[in-house]
Symmetry: D2
């Protein structure tokens, strides 16, 4: 081997990924997790939480554009937006490309936000300084349960919870019901929905199934994230409006934002929302309803 | 770690994948390569040549359906088919789902064919016993250069060559010119085209660029292969007919074969042929023409 | 890498060893542990329990000769011997090279004994069939606490316990007091005593310190075991006789057994019982007394 | 795994060692080799050349005391000393603990010397500033062949050569003959002699055999180096005086230096010079004579 230094990530009981490790940019701990930023051979600067890749310089634009723009453009009028999680600031950065009036971002771990701004400034691009942004350090579910405000769009950008950690409660039917309550009449939500690789569709299909218990319209989609070595699932859920119908107006809406985007356009939208047959088959048949009393083991 | 046994695959200078190793089903050598079949934790039986994953029980259907069916259905009349490579027999199995009259398969390594039939019989499903099949043990380029026959479809299913090995000459402009010569007037070819992950598009984009030097119509597409941990590139090249136009008739043509397929249908076709914006950008700008005198280093 | 298959053993939080994996000879589970026998590149057949190397074809003779012969030869009259642990049968094999009258072997895991005889017959060399041998399947401490018999020599050949497992109680002061009670007046015991590498002397030094609380004479020694990638500690404890004085008679006693041994002779004895200065320094200063109430975390 | 960052060292075709990687202190290249200094979990600061561990903060004292003090004390009058290699400066540091008049150190790679002084100052302890020291940047064999000077002691502290590299010529009969020529009448040399683990004795035994072709007295010995995970071989060769006889005077000679040493004393000397039986057996039978025309493949 020409390279001796490796960052080793066990992504499941049966798989390990190793990334060549050029430099250790930051290594520390918050009250909630182990935080590391490394320079990797192929992906540039990479943020790891508890040893799990969160986002990488080379391709974070794919994940964040895929998460944010479909729901923002399919929604009628995305003026008030709530982001749950999203500590690196890149989700916020993408939201602010739209003509929003207010963005509330709720994240538990202040250290991740601070470290990201210091070492990964290209992720947030000073988005936190925008006067439309309100940052709240809190548990996302606690905030959503107590807020009296209503949002056009809720974007859920939280890591998968470790076994039985409190974040389990951010992927349950009860949580999604609370999200629904703080959405406006025409509101939509989107959530990152874990790996969409054939061997690992349990979480994705269960999130879809759980959302279907709560929302009349649920639309899953997929984008491949190179640094995750996996296609990634996302799910839009809508209170009243069929997102499928809204696709017709996409082309026009995209025109004002298209040149600011590297990943998302009409063709990318089609690639994300056309799910291969074997994925559709599993999604329809395998998911279980996740509830506070029967949360899902993600690993 | 609950598991101690691993199959370790270095896929690039900067990445290593480890698969849990349940069982060693076969381990040996042919005159051309190291051959191993293992039972892996997530993917079932897996065939490795020289330490590189070739195909896996859990998802070989994706790769082989993605390789075979688009070109077979977009082509006018796929009666005579040539397969270059494809030792495991699964490409042949898929071709035989179409009403072909003759399939010539040329592969160099008889050992791989024999071992695959013995240990991976589900790959070929007795396809080699079909009277329409003619198997030739030879170098694919040598065969194509000397044959006087003409084919409707040529399917190139060869592994990426190691540094400067002879297989380099199966990805060059000169080789593609020979393929073109043995295609009928309305003929089409398809070739597997290496990884289509953002970090690794050099080979895919160079194959596309090289084919464009030879063929008037070239159409790249992508399917995610879980056991490769990567989206995979494929490229169709056509002598006279625009494959894009042929897409309109797909729906009808698919009806007679659809229930035999697990991956490929109209929706999967759309997901494969809609390339994300950042992939299209790289593909258009980065490829180089591969020729016998300036072959490409794949790793 | 020319080899793709590896057995990976994490020996501490900071070290991992990988052995090339030629063949999986046996893989299964007993009620107590995961049992694997593999063919490794350098060490031949290797027995792993719960992912930890126990002994290897290439060098088990070093460990077992080092464990058995010093105490057997330094003891006055080793006629009745008790082995605690030693499932593979190799400790028993070495004991039987001496003119003993009776050997009681107590091991908890019958499966290890059976599997070892089936797949590693060279380890035990039919020792279990010797009429002087009495095999008891039981917890070693339970047996020692209830037996009314007395032994000349007790040989403790137990793996290091995992965190807080029951085997902790086989390395405590209270256990050694029980061992002392079942020794004859001139009796001696020996115990394998974990790694004696500089970075990892906590267990070895604590075993020595604990034995010193119970026995008047305690003599540690070291042999390098290649397949452990580490020097290994052993400790002899004597009820009345100074083993150091007994060394003078070694030469004579060795003569009758020497040609049956591959590792142990007078020169090897000197190499084992001469501890380097930095090891002596740590051993004298770092150990803690291990007791049932404050057992030691081995990893 | 609680730790995700590892330094991976393939020590043979069949073995890999992984060290937890706390910090990358230095990473660069000289004209001769890749140089890395890392902070490892167990061994403190570690110097790697071309991915191979050279010495570690936690235990370099063992290697360097074992290399230097036996030959210095067994020699009659070690006033003029030549060190071949030894770039980190620790061998020089140990030599200067003796009442020498002059030390010539010849090393090829100035970068290693400079980087070591900057990042590993405890290795050399300002030894290069001592007025008795003369540092020459050159190939050791070239220097020895052209020098007209005579030395009491020659210490060879060179890494094992990679396949067919020029350093092969520093382990051959012809090279040792040149060393002999520049030794005084009563002179002695010592060379580090590679791993002395059972599975890997080819180099050690061949160095011994080759030295026996050139010198009347050859004495191998062994010390375990934790960061190498292996016992390490050393060999003393003497022109006229039997080093074995000189051992009798060791005790007295040691008294003036003993309190400056952490590893070496009379007991450690005994542990090093008493070779276990199986090692002696292999050493006597397996080595081959290494010559310029038939050098040895070390890996």
């Amino acid at each position: 081997m020409k390279n001796s230094r490796w960052y080793i990530e066990q992504t499941s009981e049966d798989e390990i990924l190793c990334h060549s490790l050029k430099e250790i940019i930051y290594s520390g701990k918050s009250p909630y997790q182990r935080i590391e930023i490394i320079q990797a051979g192929n992906f540039g600067k990479c943020l790891f939480l508890d040893g799990r890749m969160q986002s990488a310089e080379a391709d974070e634009f794919i994940y964040h554009e895929a998460l944010v723009h479909p729901v923002m453009l399919l929604s009628d009028s995305a003026k008030r937006v709530l982001i749950a999680g999203g500590g690196e600031g890149a989700t916020l950065r993408e939201v602010l490309k739209h003509p929003v009036e207010e963005v509330v971002m709720v994240d538990l771990d202040e250290t991740v936000i601070r470290i990201s701004q210091e070492y990964l400034p290209e992720w947030s691009m000073r988005a936190f300084e925008d006067p439309r942004v309100k940052l709240i350090i809190d548990d996302a579910r606690a905030y959503i349960e107590k807020t009296s405000r209503y949002f056009d769009v809720v974007i859920i950008d939280l890591p998968e919870p470790e076994d039985e950690g409190p974040a389990f409660l951010l992927y349950t039917k009860e949580f999604y019901e609370k999200v629904k309550e703080c959405l406006k009449e025409n509101g939509m939500m989107v959530t990152q929905s874990a790996s969409a690789s054939l061997i690992n569709l349990k979480v994705f299909s269960s999130i879809i199934r759980t959302l279907r218990e709560v929302f009349p319209y649920v639309k899953p989609y997929i984008a491949y994230i190179p640094s995750f070595f996996s296609p990634w699932g996302f799910t839009i859920a809508s209170k009243r409006k069929d997102p499928g119908k809204a696709e017709e107006a996409l082309n026009e809406k995209l025109s004002f934002i298209e040149r600011k985007l590297r990943f998302y356009d009409l063709e990318s939208h089609k690639s994300m929302f056309s799910l291969p047959k074997h994925i559709r088959t599993v999604i329809e048949n395998r998911g279980v309803v996740i509830s506070d009393n029967s949360p899902l083991s993600f690993y």
